[in-house]
Amino acid sequence: MPTLKALLIHPDPDVRTALRDALEEVAFIQVLGEAVTALEAMELLEAIPYGVFFLGIDLSGGTSGIEMAQMLGGRKNKPALVFISDTENQAYAAFELGATDYLLWPPAPGRMARTMDRLQTFKSRFREVPPPQPQMDAATESRDENTEQTVKLPLPEEEQDSFLAALKTAWDQTANRRPEIDKLAVSQDGRTILIPYDQIIFVEAFEDYSYIHTANQKFLSSHRLKNLEDRLGPHRFFRVHRKYLVNLDMVTEIASMPGSNFMLRTAGRTRIELPISRRRIAELKKIIGL
């Protein structure tokens, strides 16, 4: 049975222990942590999808329980708030802020049961949201290592000159360009995604379709490579191979290779390597501006 995760926020350890004991018997509530300051509680909430906060009015650390309730105000899926106080004078403020209950401490016999009823009702409409995933979870991490790959393409001697000429035009720093906002529409999982041209690293032909590779992902497009070549050609893309169309702006790395050749490499997770023969080094250096 799914439970409501509870956090006990009170500066007095005795109160926290008493609450813990009382909640021990409640099957649908699972106590998961204690805190003494609002800051601590907020930090815990970042990591754990709490369903209920039992919180004192006076907390350590400068932020009161009421202020904390205000801080929570704008959140979706915020936990139920059960305030704990020894006076009634903050009760109005508490309910104004959407408190589920307000307990006078120590609670009168049987009073806790009413709190539990209210929480039971709250639980029926509370939807637990999984905690925010770290930027890249373990699954993608292991995939990362595997999918980082290099596509080595041959570039025949006779085509190297036209390739360098294209690079030269594309990389001409003196041409005053404005950032373009043209985008390519691709569909993924039934949604249409617009990829700005300047985020495409290369396009790979795949039967009658093509894959659009960006820094981290690839998208299947229904366009043929020939169509895309016509469309992206003016935007400094170059057909380096029967199956590959490369964004020349994304060629970011130049390295020498053992066979006395040079090699150009694109950015991104899947990268393209293109050989350039040693005879053209001088020209290549001129183009990149060394």
């Binding site: 930027q135 991490e141 950032p179 820094a215 702006d249 970011t252 790395e253 390295a255 990149i288």
Partner: protein, 653 residues
């Protein structure tokens, strides 16, 4: 043996990285403008720096840009009147920067404090008034012995504001080192804190400061100001010690800014002493502010939306120029962190980057190597997408560390800007811009207005690809104006290679004019007539997966005259055995060729380092040769002792 001062170069790194076009389009300085600035500075050197000076505010403009009659005692902007604090703080109060965050500070336990320019301005004024009421006047020296706290920044600015001279002493220094610096500077006041948090512990500081004052020169320190940081109960000496908050409580929010002559000293910075007894380097208001402001804004391409984080402690010149004065003059927001980079775990730096949306991250190779050791799982846990520029300083960064940083922190999108400069130079000298083509391990080319060259001992330029001495051939504004009470030492910097400033580093220039730092000249190793920089050998070691950190020194050899010995700190999971030694030697031979013979390899748990994280090869060398170890007050761990060399040594069979 005649040594013309050239050095062999073995390491070949031919990768070139281009910046992404979006970055070039958005950069403040585009490639054509950079070319134009270079040409302008070559044609009209003074004009270039005069224009840079016009970016700042002056009480009275200069009579001339540079007075070189008394070279090498160059005087920049003689006749001008100014104050760096006016440019770092006062002038922002009149602009849109007034309510912008100047400083975001995070303590090790996670507490935060934030100051807008206006708030910082008022805090500085209040403390400036308090300092005046303590009797501190223009020209007095004040030693700041503090961890990175907002009060450290406030103290520096308040001292400079009233025309006094600050000397920040890194909080990790011992009482002896502090006393040495107090005595040398003849300080009138010491500002310290009760303690600070470091690696989960409280380190008390006031006690050490008290200890330093015992035996300090009798007529120097009159008073001590104590900042409360950890609520430690400290012994206060009646009449001498004051609580910071007691002093500022009553003070007014406005304080006049002292009008300074161009070459009035701003601060003393004692060099960390990789090569000898610490010396007090003097920087002055006018030249320093012009040089730092121009080079920092050029290299880091500062934009109104930036959050700039220089991880250096304020106790180093990096903390002064790139941590405090530079960012404040540029009107940007900077981040300061009190504690240990691995507390509570090895992702603290990345957590801070993600939390505040840091856009520019400027750190040191030693830090990068340490973080590399923990692998990529820590940076991967955080959203580092706000970063747009990365930078390093302090020692040459090996290509291996460069590419790790570029790939794992910079998403292969953020340029890694390796900057070369020193305490003596005050400002960045050789560094790429975000638009530059980058070669991993190279500091690229001198900035506009800076003229550097690689020469032999007689001042003759060495051919491309050949290593030599790195010199600065023209004066530059943020140059030190001297050593404190030691004109001879200052002149010596200009005499080793006649007429130019010799930085003490060896470097090579490649065919494209890119400069590669090969290490300190003192660390050059002469193997059978081949002179090789330690940094190259160490970079080659770095290519082996087992090596975390490494120091290579020259040891006497009967046959070759000198041979290379390596001290290696291993990554976790590697066993120091004979197979590994063979494997390491093979790696070096493959990378650098047959000249680079490593005679022996010794494994160490840790390497001796200066407190700013530079490896002290001098200490290792002294251990090997039995010579005097020299002044060690700058050493990270003063209890560092030479292990029994008979026991741990791994000799080549």
């Amino acid at each position: 043996m005649d040594q013309p001062g050239t050095v062999d170069s073995l390491l070949q790194e031919e990768r070139v990285f281009r910046p992404l076009p979006q970055l070039v389009i958005e950069a403040n300085v585009n490639p054509q403008e950079l070319d134009a600035a270079r040409r302008f500075s070559q044609m009209d050197f003074m004009g270039y720096w005069e224009e840079a000076a016009d970016d700042l505010d002056w009480f009275k403009k200069w009579d001339q840009v540079l007075d070189d009659k008394d070279a090498p005692f160059y005087r920049w902007f003689p006749g001008a009147r100014c104050n760096i604090v006016y440019n770092a703080l006062d002038r922002h109060i009149e602009t849109a920067n007034k309510n912008k965050l100047a400083l975001i500070w995070e303590g090790e336990p996670g507490d935060q404090r934030k100051y807008t320019y206006f708030e910082l301005y008022r805090e500085v004024n209040r403390f400036a008034n308090a300092l005046r009421s303590l009797g501190i006047r223009k020209g007095d020296r004040v030693v700041i012995y503090m961890p990175p706290l907002p009060e450290t920044v406030i103290s520096m600015l308040a001292i400079a504001k009233i025309g006094a001279i600050h000397s920040v002493v890194f909080a990790g220094f011992s009482a002896k080192a502090l006393r040495q610096r107090i005595n040398d500077a003849h300080a009138k006041l010491v500002i310290t804190a009760d303690g600070f948090y470091r690696n989960g512990r409280i380190v008390s500081l006031k006690e050490t400061a008290d200890e330093a004052l015992i035996g300090a020169c009798a007529d120097c320190v009159d008073s001590m100001v104590v900042v409360r940081r950890c609520n430690l109960s400290v012994d206060m000496v009646d009449g001498r010690d004051f609580q910071y908050e007691d002093l500022v409580r009553q003070e007014r929010n406005e304080a006049p800014t002292e009008v300074m002559d161009a070459d009035d000293p701003l601060f003393l910075m004692y060099t960390s002493g990789t090569t000898g007894k610490p010396k007090g380097i003097v920087h002055s208001h006018a030249g320093y502010m012009v040089g730092v402001n121009r080079t920092l804004t050029t290299v880091f391409d500062i934009k109104p939306t930036d959050i700039f984080w220089c991880t250096a402690d304020p106790g180093w010149v990096t903390g002064h120029s790139a941590g405090i004065y530079g960012p404040l003059m540029a009107g940007t927001t900077s981040v300061m962190y009190e504690g240990h980079p691995n507390y509570p775990q090895a992702d603290r730096l990345w957590a801070i980057v993600a939390k505040y949306g840091v856009t520019i991250f400027y750190s040191a190779p030693t830090m990068i190597r340490m973080l590399m050791r923990f692998g990529t799982q820590y940076p991967k846990q955080h959203d580092l997408s706000s970063l747009r520029l990365l930078g390093t300083v302090g020692e040459p960064i090996a290509p291996e560390a460069w590419t790790w940083l570029y790939k794992n922190i910079g998403r292969s999108e953020c340029p890694v800007l390796d900057t070369w400069w020193q305490t003596e130079t005050g400002m960045f000298m050789i560094a790429p811009l975000p638009i530059s083509l980058l070669k991993p391990g190279s500091v690229t080319k001198p900035l506009p207005g800076v003229e550097c060259d690689v020469v032999d001992r007689h001042g003759k330029p060495v051919p491309p690809g050949k290593g030599g001495l790195l010199v600065v051939t023209k004066p530059w504004p943020a140059m030190m104006t001297g050593y404190w009470n030691d004109d001879d030492a200052f002149k010596a910097c200009w005499e080793k290679v006649p007429g130019v400033y010799y930085a003490g580093d060896v470097a090579k220039k490649d065919e494209d004019g890119y400069i590669w730092i090969q290490g300190r000249a003192d660390d050059v190793i002469n193997i059978a007539g081949h002179r090789i920089g330690s940094a190259e050998l160490e970079a080659a070691f770095g290519m082996h997966g087992a090596v975390s950190e490494c120091a290579v020194i020259g040891v006497p050899d009967k046959i070759k005259g000198e041979a290379a010995k390596a001290f290696v700190q291993l990554n976790g999971g590697f066993e120091p055995d004979d197979d590994l030694i063979k494997d390491l030697k093979r790696t070096i031979r493959n990378e650098l060729g047959p000249v680079a013979v490593i005679k022996s390899i010794e494994f160490r748990e840790a390497l001796p380092k200066t407190r700013s994280g530079k490896i002290m090869r001098r200490v290792l060398k002294a251990e090997e040769t039995g010579h005097d170890i020299g002044d060690l007050t700058g050493l990270e761990d003063e209890s560092f002792q030479a292990p029994n060399t008979e026991g741990g040594e791994q000799e080549n069979p």
